[in-house]
Symmetry: C3
C-alpha cells in the first residue's frame, strides 16, 4: 500500500523540480554545501595544523601533511569551482567557458598561492584578540576557542576567490562560518590586518564594507546598507553586487561596541574613533571621534511583592 503512494509522491516531486530552483544533477552540476564545508575544513587545517582536527602531526612529517592537505583542497576546489563557473556562464546566457578545466586549474592555483598570505593576516587577527581580550591567556588558546578566528580565516580565503571573480563558492564558504560562529561577513568585504570580533553572535558585515587596520567589533554590530530596496536601475531591477557601494568604511583603529549599527555606502568612520553600544549611525564622523547615545531614561520602581504580579511595561518574551 505504501509503495504506490510513494511512487505517486515521487511523480509529484518530479513535477515540482521543473519549477523553482532546478536540481543539482550530473549534467548541470552545481556546487554543493557538503563539499564546500569540506573546503572550509581543509583551509583551517592548512592554516592551523592540528588545531581544528584530531589528527596527530609530527614535525618531521609536517611537509608531507601540508602537501596532502593541499592536494585534497585543490581537488575539492577544482571540482566545485568548475561547477560554479559553468553554472554562472549558463545563468548569464554565455557559452561554457573554453578550456574550463585549464582555466579552473589556473584560478585554483592562484588561490592556493594566497594561503601563506592568508595565514599571515589571520596571525595578526590572533595577536589582535590577545591584545584586546582580558580573558585571553595565550595565543594558541585563541585559535582553539575564539569564533572570530574561524570566521576571519574563512572570510579572508573566500575574499581571494571573490576578488578573482569565482562565483557562488565564496558566499557558500562564509555561510559555513556564519553557521558555526553566528558571525556573518560577506566575502566581498575588504578587511585589513589585526581585526578582532569579540563573542561575535549577530555581527553582520556587508559586501562593500572596508575595514582598516586594528579595528575591533563586539557582538551584535551591523555594518549595513541604508535603503537598498530603493536602489534600482533604470529598468526597475535591483542593482546587484559590488558595483553598488552601499556599506560603510571604517578607517584604522576604530572600535564599535555591542549592538551598534552603522549604515550606508557614504558613511566613513574616521580612524581612532569609538562608536558606543547601541548607537545608530548613518553619517560619517571625523578621526578621533567618540559617538555615544544619550542614555534612554530608566524608570526604576519598587516591585510590589506578590507572587503572580503582572508586569506593566517594557517587558517581552517570545
Amino acid at each position: 500500500m505504501t509503495i504506490p503512494r510513494l511512487e505517486k509522491l515521487v511523480a509529484q516531486m518530479r513535477d515540482t523540480y521543473s519549477r523553482g530552483p532546478g536540481i543539482n544533477d550530473l549534467q548541470d552540476a552545481l556546487p554543493d554545501r557538503e563539499s564546500v564545508a569540506k573546503v572550509c575544513t581543509r583551509v583551517l587545517a592548512i592554516l592551523f595544523p592540528g588545531f581544528f582536527t584530531a589528527e596527530r602531526i609530527s614535525k618531521t612529517e609536517l611537509d608531507t601533511h601540508t602537501m596532502s592537505q593541499l592536494m585534497d583542497l585543490q581537488s575539492l576546489l577544482l571540482d566545485q569551482v568548475a561547477r560554479a563557473l559553468r553554472y554562472s556562464a549558463r545563468v548569464a546566457g554565455k557559452a561554457k567557458p573554453a578550456n574550463l578545466v585549464e582555466h579552473t586549474r589556473g584560478m585554483v592555483l592562484e588561490q592556493l598561492d594566497l594561503l601563506a598570505h592568508v595565514r599571515e593576516l589571520v596571525s595578526t587577527d590572533v595577536e589582535a584578540a590577545f591584545n584586546n581580550d582580558p580573558a585571553a591567556l595565550d595565543r594558541e588558546t585563541i585559535v582553539l576557542s575564539y569564533p572570530s578566528i574561524e570566521a576571519l580565516a574563512v572570510q579572508r580565503f573566500a575574499h581571494g576567490l571573490y576578488r578573482a571573480g569565482i562565483p557562488i563558492i565564496p558566499r557558500m564558504m562564509t555561510e559555513v562560518a556564519h553557521s558555526h560562529t553566528g558571525i556573518d561577513i560577506h566575502p566581498g568585504a575588504t578587511i585589513d590586518e589585526s581585526f578582532f570580533i569579540d563573542h561575535g553572535t549577530g555581527v553582520v558585515i556587508g559586501e562593500t564594507c572596508t575595514i582598516g587596520k586594528r579595528c575591533v567589533l563586539y557582538h551584535g554590530v551591523t555594518l549595513g546598507a541604508w535603503n537598498p530596496i530603493g536602489a534600482k536601475d533604470e529598468n526597475g531591477d535591483l542593482k546587484r553586487g559590488s558595483s553598488n557601494k552601499r556599506h560603510p568604511d571604517l578607517e584604522d583603529k576604530v572600535t564599535v561596541y555591542p549592538g551598534a549599527t552603522i549604515l550606508g555606502g557614504d558613511t566613513k568612520i574616521g580612524h581612532h574613533s569609538i562608536i558606543g553600544g547601541n548607537v545608530w549611525l548613518t553619517h560619517s564622523v571625523e578621526p578621533y571621534t567618540l559617538v555615544t547615545i544619550k542614555d534612554p531614561e530608566l524608570m526604576i520602581r519598587k516591585r510590589k511583592v506578590q507572587p503572580s504580579m503582572r508586569v506593566s511595561s517594557r517587558i517581552k518574551k517570545a
Copy 2:
C-alpha cells in the same frame, strides 16, 4: 584503582537518573536528537536534490534517488513519531494508542504527501530572497547559501507535523535549523508564501504568530509574547500551547527592519506596513503604516588623543 571509582560513579549516575528527566531507554523510548537531525537532512535532500549533500545525481536516475530518500525519511519518521506519540500518551496519563503502528504510518504518509506543497512554498521563499537582496545574483545560489531557506524549509515541513498533532518532533526539527542558522521559528507559526529573512541571526518567531504573503524580516527581529508569565489559568498553572494566542500577526507585504520587536497576541500589523530598525511595538497599526523611532540623541565628541584613555560613557564589553 580507577575502575572501582568509576563503578561508584556509575551507581551515583544511576541514582540521579531516577530523578529529573528520565532516561531514553528501549522500553519507554523517546525520540532522539541525532535521528531528528537526520530527518531534517532528508527533508532538505528531497526538497533540493543535490544542493545540501555531495551525492551525484543524474537526471535519468532522479526518480530512483527521490524514492530512496523518501523511503529513508519514512523509516526515520515512523520510528521517531511512534516514540513521540507513545511518550505523549504516557505523559497525558492515557493508554498507549491502539494500533500505534498503523496510526503512525497514516500520519507519516500524510506528512510525506505534503512535501510537494512544501517545495512549492519554499520555492516562493527563494524567489522572495532574489527580489529583496541586491547581493543575490541567482536563485540557485540562494538555496546553496542563504540560511533562511534552510530555516523555512524545515519549519514549513515541521509545521505540517505540528498541525497534525504530532508531538515533540516538530519543535526538535526547528531547533536543528535554529542551531544551524540562528533563526528560531516555532513550528506552530503560520507563514504564508514568499517569506524572506535576511542574515537571520537572532530572529525569534513565536508559536502563535501568523505571517502573510511577501513579508520580509531582517536579523535580530523578535515577534514575541507580552507578559506571558502572567498568563495563568484558574489553577495558577501556565497556559500552554497554541490555545493561548500570545504572538502578533503580520498581514501581507510587511517589512520589519533589524532589531525591531513586535509583541502581543492582539497586535496586528496592517498590510504594506514598514517597521523600522529597533522599533518596540506592542499595539496594532493600520495598513500602509510606517513606524520608526525618533532617533536617540547622539553625543559626538572629540576623543583626547592619548594611548591609554579611559572611555567614559556608553561603552560595553563582555
Copy 3:
C-alpha cells in the same frame, strides 16, 4: 606542473608556521577542537542517556552503557587535559609538571566525580524551563529541544574544570556549546540552580559573573564588562583572568528581558528584580526593583502608496 608549484607553497606555509601561533605537533601537542567536541558529546550522553544520540539503551544494560561512556570520556580527557597542562606550563615558562600522567589522572577523576552533581543541577534547569515557558508541554521535550539545556550542561561541567585550574579545555567546551546554541557563557561564570535562558541566541555571560537561584534570561542579553580596555596593570598590560572582577552579579530570582545589557564588576542586581527589554544598566539596584526604559518615541505615519517608494528614516539593511 602542479606539483612543483604545490611544493613551493608547502615551503611557504612551513615558513609562516614559524611565525604567529605554532603548529599542534606531536612533541608539543596542544588540545584540539575535534576531540573537545567529542568531550562535550560524551558529557551530554552521560547526563541524558539516549537523548542526544541515536543509540538504543535498555534499562538492564544501563550501567554497562554508563561505564562505557565514562571510560571513553575519561580517555579523551586524560589526553586533552595532559596536553593543556603541558602547554600551559610551557607558556608560563615552567618545567613540564612532574608526574604529569598521575597528576592528570587525579584531576580528571575529580571532574568525573562531579558528573552526578552536574546532572542534579541541570535537572533543576530543566524544571526551571518547564515553569517559565508556556510552549513547554513536558520535561523530556525540554532536554530534547531547548538550546539552554545543552549550553548549561556543558558550562556546568566545564566550570568544574575551570575551578580546578585546568587550562584551555573549559573555554573550548563552552565555545562548542556557543557554536551549537548561540549562547556564549564563559566557563568561569558561577551559576546557581534552576537557571533558564529562553531562545538564547546572542546571550553573552562574562567570566566573573555570578548568577543566583531561579534566574531567567531571554535572548540577546549581555552580562558584560564596563571599560575593560582601561583595566591594565602597572606595566600597562591587560589584567587577565578571574582575578579581575569585571562582570555583574545577579541575586536570586532575577529576570532579564531580551536585549538588555548589564555591565560592570560592581553592579549587583538585587533579588526578585526585573530588568526590562533593551535596558542598559551599569549600576546596582535594590532587591524587588523593576527597571524599564522610557519607550523611545514612535513616529507613526501613513505610507504613500506607490510601488517604488523610497523609505526615508530609521530603516536599515546589511
